[in-house]
């Protein structure tokens, strides 16, 4: 499947802004709620997400080409097993060769391997019939989209620390309503493409 640069750019921007994985599809909400209290942590979490998503996309394309045509019922099982083990191997490699990078990203890797955003990326990329290159751009867009949502949320929550929030709203309810507002703002991006 040959696609022009323009099409690839549309896939990238589309999965980053229009169908943002966190704010449009609600994927990866556990880390979104859990580690979005500080901008620095959120940014590193986002980076780890981009990294794992890129690997996932390549693995999914590979499985789609060589394994799944022969055994379609294995889709869910093979995706999750192969992705989890590959990320585990990568994590060990990073730990061995670059302890600095491991301290920055490594602790998040096991957290996001069994995350719905990762499995969602793999299945939906298959559903959309993307090739290796399309899938790669889709994964990059999704990763940057998740990072964007995390960093935006963390910045808002850092501001919230300093403001006088009523006692009733000091649970996750307020965070969810802020997420809803962000999601509403991201809906404006759906007017980007008119095709």
């Amino acid at each position: 499947m040959d696609k022009s640069m323009g099409d690839l750019f549309l896939i990238l921007v589309g999965s980053m802004l229009v169908t943002n994985f966190t704010l449009f599809y609600f994927l990866g909400l556990c880390p979104f709620m859990g580690v979005s209290a500080k901008v620095g942590t959120a940014l590193r979490m986002g980076m780890a997400n981009i990294f794992v998503m890129t690997i996932t996309s390549l693995v999914a394309s590979f499985l789609n080409q060589f394994v799944l045509p022969h055994a379609p019922f294995l889709q869910v099982i093979s995706f999750i097993v192969v992705i989890a083990s590959l990320v585990q191997i990568v994590e060990m490699t990073i730990k061995k060769f670059s302890p600095t990078l491991f301290r920055e990203l490594g602790i998040f890797l096991p957290l996001i391997t069994t995350n719905c955003a990762i499995l969602g990326l793999a299945t939906w990329q298959t559903g959309l019939g993307y090739s290796y290159v399309d899938g790669l751009f889709y994964a990059l867009g999704a990763g940057f989209g998740v990072t964007l949502a995390l960093v935006l949320m963390a910045s808002i929550r850092e501001k919230m620390e300093l403001s006088d929030v009523p006692a009733v709203a000091r649970n996750m309810g307020l965070v969810l309503i802020i997420a809803g507002t962000l999601s509403l703002a991201f809906q404006g991006f759906s007017g980007l493409f008119t095709s």
Binding site: F26, V76, G120, V168, A179, L184
Partner: protein, 232 residues
């Protein structure tokens, strides 16, 4: 671990440790497919099957599964049950599958299910694991239906839309033809808003209950009741 009675094992998951509303687990399906009550119920049924099936399986096999690879084993077992649900839905209800099908494979990574296996089913007898799974699934269903009701009633102005045997699948119109539906509530931001407001309401409810308790134990607390009736 504290000893519990079978009743406690069942009841606990329904409200006090409700997976969605209290523990905030499994938020992805709770927000993504609750735009109508029908979709919420279908997703709850799928989750119930996977949770009960894998709990039974894992608590039966708990002596056989090696401790070091238990998490991977649990995920494999859960993924097998999810594949079954996925195929059944695809074959029996193609219309429904178009709406919620994208989220059915994601039941595998619902942390609520893996959490119950790790915390409960892998340590307890089969019967208790079944009760626990049923209780948690019931709690999940309650939360899903709450979300679905709020979003469908406000967002479309109908109730029970999509179920074939209720008014031919169009649902019962609640507010008449002059009602302008809040379309935002059935779109993605509405999911966040609905759960946000439910959590705010629960927070308010808890605070109020705590305050009342304080007033009842008046002599021991610094708070002075305003109307004087409670003190007597």
């Amino acid at each position: 671990m504290r000893a519990t009675t079978p009743q406690q094992d069942f009841i606990r998951g329904i409200w006090n440790e409700n997976p969605v509303l209290i523990q905030l687990l499994g938020l992805c399906p709770a927000l993504a497919v609750t735009n109508t009550i029908y979709n919420s119920l279908a997703m709850s049924a799928a989750t119930l099957f996977v949770l009960v099936g894998s709990s039974l399986f894992i608590s039966t096999l708990k002596k056989v599964i090696p401790h070091e690879v238990r998490i991977s084993t649990y995920i494999l077992i859960i993924a097998t049950f999810v594949t079954i649900v996925d195929m059944v839905f695809k074959a029996l209800e193609p219309g429904l599958y178009r709406e919620i099908g994208a989220f059915i494979p994601l039941i595998v990574v619902n942390c609520m299910i893996l959490g119950r296996q790790e915390a409960f089913a892998s340590k307890r007898p089969v019967g208790r694991a079944l009760l626990d799974a049923l209780g948690v699934a019931a709690g999940f269903t309650i939360a899903m239906v709450m979300m679905g009701t709020v979003r469908e009633v406000v967002g479309s102005g109908t109730i029970l839309q999509g179920i074939p045997f209720v008014v031919g699948g169009d649902g019962i119109n609640l507010f008449g033809s002059n009602y302008e539906p809040w379309v935002v509530m059935i779109s993605p931001p509405g999911g966040f808003f609905a759960l946000g407001f439910i959590l705010l309401f629960l927070g308010w409810w808890e605070t109020r209950k705590a305050q009342k308790r304080e007033i009842r134990h008046w002599p021991h607390s610094v708070r002075v009741p305003t109307d004087g009736k409670e003190a007597a």
